[in-house]
Amino acid sequence: MSRRRSPGQVLGRVGLVLLALPALAAVFAPLVARHSPQRPSGRPLLKPSLGHPLGTDDLGVDIFSQLVYGSRISLAIGLGAAVLAIVVGVLVAVLAGWRRGWVETVLMRLTDVTLAFPFLPLVLVLAAFFGRGLLVTAIVIGAVSWARPARVLWAQVLKLREYPHVQAARAMGATGSRCIVRHILTRLIPVTSAQFVRVANAAIISEAALAFLGLGDPNHASWGMMLANASSNNALLTGAWKWWMVPPGLALTVVVLGFAFTGYASEEWADPRLASPTGRLRFLGRRRRRPAPAPQTAAGAPATGPILSVKDLVVHYDRHGPAVVKGVGFDAPRERVTALVGESGSGKSTIVLALLGLLPGDPLVKGGATFEGRKLLSAAAAARVRGRKIGFVTQAAMNALNPAYTIHFQVAEAAALTMPIGEARRRAGELLENVGLPAEDHGAYPHELSGGMRQRVVIAMALANRPDLLIADEPTTGLDLVTQASILKLLGDLKDQLGLTVLLITHDVQMVLRVADELVILQDGCVVEQGSVATVAADPQQEYTRRLLNTRLSPLAVKV
């Protein structure tokens, strides 16, 4: 099984290799460097030679040895400061986020104050005040760097504490400390590791800056100190910069890049969902090839021809992966509601994303699809009609409205794609009325509306540019029955009033029987049955269709 690594992971590996160089140098310094990094081992200011690969400094100390031993200082300062900053940051974040109340107020204001200080001047003042030891430098840098991780992690804790698995644990009677250790800290690891790398990086640069400014530990030649020494001995004028300034500068660059690249990937590495290979196996298993795709026949097309026509569509998520959609063909007849029905994993959303050129990554799409007689499948062709001739209501889009703007503004913004802003504003008001939102709600922000009302807003946005085709992916999921009924009715009404063609994607065929005209039943990326609702629902030919139709739980009947 070939598994392509994400660009982030490739960078992460490069980062690890870059970090391995200074790490090895630090560990094996006595073996690599033949001279002492502190005591003179030759005449001052020697040029590079076999005995002194990078020459000697103004006191006759071997520069190569200083470079090798300098990696110990840089890494120690970086890791030391990062450990300190992260421990403090995590403690502050968890205490503030979990306890809330005055603890949170005090800790987070303290964090804000620390963040408000300019970093380098603060470090300079503290370093000048507390002295020039290595340990002091690490502590000073750590003591200044905890605030950003604290703030980032605090936001995570606030989010995580409301997660269902944390709520469930609390309901089971778990103590606060158990919730924090088992449920919060374990999920903070990805973000924490990224923050750790970031602080380590900043610490190494800060130490170099401090040393360069004369606040380093004079007993240990760090890379920053080497640069400072070289600079004060006019290395730039004598040509000695080539072996005296470039190597420590390069070494700093290597370490900083190494940490930065590792930081990109550490979040991915720390997440079991991305690390475990069996996740991929199930993915393959679910999309196993079926023996024989059922024969496909185009549903009786009206005289004008279908608005959307799909033939032999095959989709692979990536070029080497298995097909997720395996030769699907169907038509969406004009001014009808066509429902694409299947269980999760049947490929129904993938089909739509492929048609609209919205598949993530580097997918392989084969087959043909035409919209109004023009080819659709290329990204450029899809971009021309998307949001204009084809309106798209994505899955759970109602939760993706921008919380910072009123709904009227957001609908107007969608309409402004094809019309001047003044007209778009008028149109937005009209659209919101069309989908059943009264004028007094137009100035509302998304969080002030119920799920059903937000779904109406999303539908209004999809209709903004007078599309001919509206595609709605699970538009009723997450809504209660009364709202589901009203959203389905809205889609049916819009079809009648605006002469719209609707392509509806759902896992629940029962739900769409009243609103849909045509059914396309999908299983494992293949069409198993299609036709008008009347024929398919009354006399399903496939066992799978019967199973989908037979999801009613109770034989009870109601009088309406």
């Binding site: 009613r552 109770s554 309406v560």
Partner: protein
């Protein structure tokens, strides 16, 4: 006669927004409800009707402003968190979203063992964990114990959540929308499982749902909530056949419109 769970005259108000937009939302307004030992009661209503708040209050995640909640004749609505901890193993909460109800970094066995670990009666290696998996139909249990949640389908995850609910043998499980996020074809399996767990272990269920056919299929009693008030409560067949409240009729009509219930002439 006291019932297993009795909620009496529960009140709960939330404040939302800030400044001029600040307003009070009455989530529970004088709600009384009871669940008998080994009984399945469905709580139905639209979103925002307060049914989830009531469920959270029952398991002690939400504190009532006023009113009583009694579990086995012990009043606990105003108990301290520490005193409440003794009661907690007897109740369990199952949440709507099977994707978020399980810690993504915890293996199935560890997740199921959590109630045992909290009560100090077992851990991930206990035979009880494997037995619980078998009970919910994830067999052979050995093939599931070491998986992570992302390696399971939505329906399987909801079964794991139910296995976690039964492993500590609670007397009451509050299930908040247990089927709303699983495929339509899998709902029947979850309903059958809830009934089976009740029959085998005598666990009482308070099932919170907006699906009226789910309520009809699973529960002996139905309680209907609207805007924080309990508008109707009674045996399932009676409420469905002859609803006494106008709002219940609206809900039933909506269920018929989306094809969940048959329409009788």
């Amino acid at each position: 006669m006291t019932r297993l769970l009795e909620v009496q005259h529960a009140h709960k108000t939330f404040c939302t927004g800030a400044g001029a937009r600040r307003r009070r939302v009455v989530a529970l307004d004088d709600v009384s409800l009871s669940v008998g030992e080994g009984e399945i009661v469905a709580l139905v209503g639209e979103s925002g009707s307060g049914k989830s708040t009531l469920g959270r209050a029952v398991v002690g995640l939400e504190r009532l402003d006023a009113g009583k909640a009694m579990f086995d004749a012990v009043e606990y609505a105003h108990m301290s968190e520490r005193a409440m901890r003794k009661l907690r193993p007897q109740m369990h909460l199952v949440l709507q979203d099977p994707y978020q109800s399980l810690h993504p970094g915890m293996r199935v066995a560890t997740a199921i063992a959590e109630p045992l670990e909290i009560a100090g009666t077992g851990n991930a290696k206990s035979p009880k964990v494997a037995a619980a998996l078998e009970e919910v139909g994830l067999t052979p249990a050995g093939t599931f114990l070491d998986r992570y949640p992302h390696q399971l389908s939505g329906g399987q995850r909801q079964r794991v959540v139910l296995a976690r609910a039964l492993v500590g043998r609670p007397r009451l499980v509050v299930a908040d929308e247990p089927t709303s996020m699983v495929d339509a074809t899998l709902r029947a399996g979850i309903v059958a499982l809830i009934r089976r767990l009740r029959d085998r272990f005598g666990i009482a269920f308070l099932v919170i749902t907006h699906d009226l056919d789910m309520a009809a299929a699973v529960a002996e009693e139905v309680a209907v909530m609207q805007k924080g008030r309990l508008v109707e409560c009674g045996p399932t067949p009676k409420v469905f056949a002859a609803p006494s409240d106008e709002y219940t009729r609206t809900l039933l009509k909506a269920a018929a419109e989306v094809g969940r219930l048959d329409v009788a002439d």
